[in-house]
Symmetry: C2
Subunit: 447 residues, 2 copies
């Protein structure tokens, strides 16, 4: 028996109707905190309830493809952890996380040149919790977080929840543009704004698919340091590059000015919700206190299971296997785009899960989505990845979960929708604009 | 191999020295959010690193005693979940939680008279996360949370983290005093304060060991309703009563004005970090959005394992077994107190994990703690359970984790310390006072 990925989604309406219903029906409406005003059900949430149906090819989700995992051996590991260490696995643990796992995490990070001490690591309930804790510890309402344009939708949601103001900095094919970053930070300083964090996904960017060039990394660090801005390096995909060795992490070049966020969700499996953050000592201490307040301690059962997997299974081979599988899917994606959607442009990611597609002139990815879902293909409109309403001319296509054949079929369907849209645009002019409000986070499975 | 329960604790100093070191060494000190000012390492954290040594009898911790769990069968369940449902267990899940588990949670709550719909339940990373989410959704800085005097230290920590102001209401042997609640809420309204939540642990209170009398329950609800205050019913121990049937939950009498927080941490095991909150529809929707922002989704692996345990094991017998075991320990505790500490007074809890001990006149539980640890016994000073510095005349003794023999030995040691303290007080007068600052949360294992 399997449960549907997101049963709650079927009950959500659009924000308009939900807000209207709330006004009438919710006796606690006047009691909510100010920050709760920013929490709205996604406009596209209801649509994704449909998009999760098996006949739809979803190029929307960020779910890893898990069928290649050695389930029998993982079952054995899960059982052994309870049989042999049940009194620890089933008990409360340290707020900072299991010490053995923290040592193993160092080993994983060494592949990207990071040297740290187990005491620098805080284990979190997925790296999403790390984002939440970092924002909690640093961001007052009205503070600025500088982030790439576009940025991971789940990070924008956290910043919004803490009432931050996100200012975007452009990226190009080599990632964050240092000159633009410097200029933005200079302008913000001149305007008297408090910039607390620079949020960046330097490897195989979500959603843009690009990576920060090695030559730019020291420049970005120098600029951030000069402006007194802490760098949040969010790196769930760093080991999932399709060619060559992993690039050196920003954290490998600066251990006082970077908070490094890692995760086992993409390189192993998300169901245990094990991520981590590496932080300088004083910050690490605050993060542990914040985490204890939020959840007391991360799950020992999850941590010990991941720890046992790392200790007893050839996890490097598993990561290699994932890399090969996702490369094949990336190839299917960009091949199908070239075959079927020559009127669009897209990034060719060297790793990770996503490509970022610019639609032909005049098309609006959000307006087009219902028609795409009707044509049995789903994607995430670019507006989800901006704080300021931009992005309607882009869509994120993910190649992580569907098989190569399904990816090709999905792109073929999408091409049909785009062709029909272009005909409409030619007849009647553009259907949407860039000034409409940003799409909210569509929920965990499209993270 | 077992890891120590809290390795991070050994590195923490007192807040004074940590703050001083921070001023000198932390380059990010000026960047922290205002709320982070309230996050301080516990004064008694370093002490508890010592208290966790095996030669110390810890009457401080709130860890359940897990050796009675059927580990072989639980290992089998953990393995089966991965072998049979690995693709779901290891994947991202719904932000609201697994639907089957939410149905099973209804079955558990029915034992306390609660009728709800699976859609009313949000699964959380332990009920601590439920507390965090509820506070996040409702509390602006400066808002008032009304809470029992004393209150669960971990809840006070959450309220502090969201910059709430906690106003205490007295309890007696029958729990929260309705007249005092009414008076406090009236005064707060007259003073123009915004009271958002009433936080209460109605069953087997932590730390006080008392329960809210059945006759008072409708009164408390009526008062809260009249003042427009939402009730947060925190009920981890409700099924762990030593005699008779579980009392009807507040939520069973009011489904619009009560948020009910439940947990498997005490009735099953805390290591999976599975708790839940039951909320009216509009609030539930906000809680799901807040949880998605905080962690994306709770662990499917944990949820499916707990779900399989509930479906395949006689969990009601397990709860009964826990009840009998904890009753025996309660008896050992109160028996030893009568034998060795007749100069103190204490509550005799009818369930749960804790007794609340009033020290003889002139003694200060916080001042005495280092001497107790030297005598190889630990407790939590009463100051931890107040927002306003009170409580030095009390200590919380927990009887959940040590065996009856160890409990008796611990109380015997404690009696020796008290006797020595009393002699000092008689010679030199009282050693401490009630005006000193509150002790912070000492970390998860003493929750």
């Amino acid at each position: 028996m399997t449960t549907p990925p997101a049963p709650d989604r079927t009950t959500s309406g659009t924000p308009t109707s939900a807000a209207a219903a709330g006004t009438r029906l919710d006796p606690w409406l006047a009691s909510y905190a100010a920050r709760t005003g920013g929490m709205r059900a996604s406009e596209i949430r209801a649509l994704f309830a449909v998009a999760n149906r098996p006949e739809v090819v979803s190029l929307a989700g960020g779910m890893p493809y898990l069928a290649r995992l050695p389930m029998d051996q993982l079952a054995d590991i899960a059982g052994r952890v309870v049989a042999e260490r049940g009194l620890v696995a089933l008990q409360y643990g340290s707020g900072q996380g299991d010490e053995t796992l923290r040592e193993q995490i160092l080993e994983v990070m060494r592949l990207q040149g990071i040297e740290a001490h187990p005491d620098d690591v805080v284990v979190t309930t997925g790296s999403q919790q790390a984002l939440d804790l970092v924002t909690r510890v640093f961001v007052d309402p009205g503070d600025v977080v500088v982030a790439e344009a576009p940025s991971y939708v789940g990070a924008l949601g956290v910043f919004r929840a803490y009432q931050a103001d996100v200012v975007h900095v452009p990226i190009d094919a080599d990632g964050l543009v240092p000159a633009a970053l410097d200029e933005t930070l200079t302008e913000l300083a001149a305007a008297g704004r408090r910039v607390k964090l620079l949020y960046t996904v330097p490897n195989f960017h979500n959603p843009a698919g690009v990576s920060l060039a090695s030559s730019r990394r020291p420049q970005v660090l120098e600029i951030a340091r000069r402006h007194g801005v802490l760098v949040v390096e969010d790196d769930p995909y760093g080991l999932l590059g399709f060619e060559g060795e992993p690039r050196a992490a920003l954290r490998s070049m600066d251990d006082e000015g970077v908070l490094y966020l890692g995760s086992f969700s993409k390189t192993f499996a998300p169901g245990y919700r094990v991520g981590w953050v590496v932080a300088p000592h004083a910050i690490r201490e605050k993060l542990v206190l914040a985490s204890e307040s939020a959840i007391l301690s991360p799950s020992n059962a999850s941590q010990l299971t991941v720890s046992c997997y790392l200790a007893t299974y050839d996890w490097r081979s598993q990561v290699k296997d994932y890399r090969e599988m996702y490369r094949e899917r990336r190839d299917a994606m960009v091949g199908a785009l070239a075959d079927h959607l020559p009127s669009a442009t897209w990034t060719v990611p060297e790793g990770g899960f996503y490509t970022w597609v610019r639609l032909p002139e005049g098309l609006d990815a959000r307006e087009m989505l219902p028609r795409a879902v009707t044509a049995l293909v789903a994607y995430v409109p670019g507006t989800a990845f901006y704080f300021d309403g931009r992005g309607a001319d882009h869509m994120r296509l993910s190649f992580c979960y569907p098989t190569p054949d399904r990816i090709r079929e999905g792109v073929r369907r999408l091409a049909g929708v785009v062709t029909a849209e272009r005909e409409l645009v030619e007849l009647f002019g553009a259907t949407g604009g860039g000034g409409s409000p940003a799409v909210q986070a569509p929920g965990p499975d499209v993270a």
